[in-house]
């Protein structure tokens, strides 16, 4: 038997394309987030609310990733923001080449802030670099305060946590302090925002964070 020593990263192909995306974003001075969460935590609602608050201050574009339908792209399109929909047809996460293809149909030359909304899934998308500046994970309080412990890779790889649907806290057993404690035990450097896309609470400080990042671009 002969042995060939290889030492090749399995996802190297994805990383190469992610770096190409990153260079393109840098050239265009796009601040880019990869928005991650389980299905139904309010990613698209957060994007809508962000557009509502920031639309007059910065140029926004959105890439929507879904297993099926362009329902999310329709929601963003109604707000007059450029949007590209990726339909993965069963694929459980976005990969860098899908984002690269989507960029061909989206002019990001004059875009300040690009949101890549990933497929709703707290597992697989954590492992794929798309070329973004930050991974932002959204967790709604209806999902329970133990989720950071159950999906550690997602919360470890993210830089920012948005705790959403906080208007529903009076009706739930979820403890926001416990949720934050659990998240910070996985990733002590997580930056945390608390939002409600229904009442608008907390959205301003989330939008200020986006703007402070644009200035450093």
């Amino acid at each position: 038997m002969s042995v060939i020593t290889v030492e090749r990263k399995v996802l190297a192909k994805n990383d190469v394309i992610a770096n190409e995306n990153r260079s393109a974003f840098k050239r265009n001075k796009n601040f880019v987030i990869n928005l991650l969460s389980s299905p139904g935590s309010g990613k698209t609602s957060l994007v809508e609310k962000t557009i509502e608050v920031c639309k007059n201050k910065l140029k926004i574009a959105v890439i929507e990733g879904d297993v099926q339908t362009d329902l999310d792209a329709q929601r963003i399109d109604k707000l007059g923001v450029p949007v590209a929909q990726i339909v993965t047809n069963g694929g459980c996460h976005l990969e860098a080449n899908l984002v690269k293809d989507a960029l061909n149909s989206l002019n990001t030359n004059d875009v300040d802030f690009l949101v890549i909304e990933n497929v709703g899934n707290l597992v697989c998308p954590a492992g794929y670099d798309l070329g973004e500046d930050f991974k932002v994970v959204v967790l709604s309080v209806t999902e329970g305060d133990d989720k950071p412990l159950k999906y550690p890779a997602m919360f470890r790889n993210a830089s920012v946590l948005v705790i959403n649907k906080i208007d529903l806290l009076p009706y739930l057993k979820c403890s926001i302090d416990e949720l934050k404690k659990n998240a910070l035990s996985i990733n002590p450097s997580l930056k945390i925002f608390e939002t409600s896309c229904t009442t608008g609470k907390g959205v301003d400080s989330w939008c200020s964070w986006i703007q402070s990042n644009l200035q450093s671009k």
Binding site: R8, G90, C92, G127, A153, L184
Partner: protein, 119 residues
């Protein structure tokens, strides 16, 4: 289900690395999978076995070495293996830690038949 895509990437790496040995059978492919990669070993082997049918890798075996998650404390310097739940130093309980192992996803060795075995 993302294991299927990962298996496909492994197969492409093996095919690329063995293209100069096209007359020899590929017997074993060794990969390292970190504990925090969210990859299920059984699903990865299942995907690999399904995808190699009809290719030059047919009959080869995917062998997986699971790499435990290990952290290095930035305060006291000691290293601890963690269960994936708490990123906290075993010795001084500091949470200022760096992940040193656990995110590996690497093809590290390929075993092919010797020239003398080629029929």
């Amino acid at each position: 289900m993302h294991e299927l895509g990962i298996a496909q990437n492994i197969i492409e790496i093996v095919q690329d690395q063995t293209k100069n040995y096209s007359n020899r059978k590929i017997k074993n492919v060794f990969v390292k999978v970190g504990k925090l990669t969210n990859v299920l070993n059984d699903s990865l082997v299942f995907g690999y076995d399904a995808l190699i049918m009809g290719t030059n890798l047919e009959g080869s075996k995917l062998s997986i070495e699971t790499v435990p998650a290990k952290i290095r404390c930035e305060s006291c310097g000691s290293e601890s293996v963690i269960d994936g739940l708490t990123f906290c130093c075993d010795q001084c309980k500091s949470t200022s830690v760096k992940l040193v192992n656990g995110m590996e996803l690497t093809v590290f060795e390929i075993e092919i038949e010797d020239l003398s075995e080629v029929t």
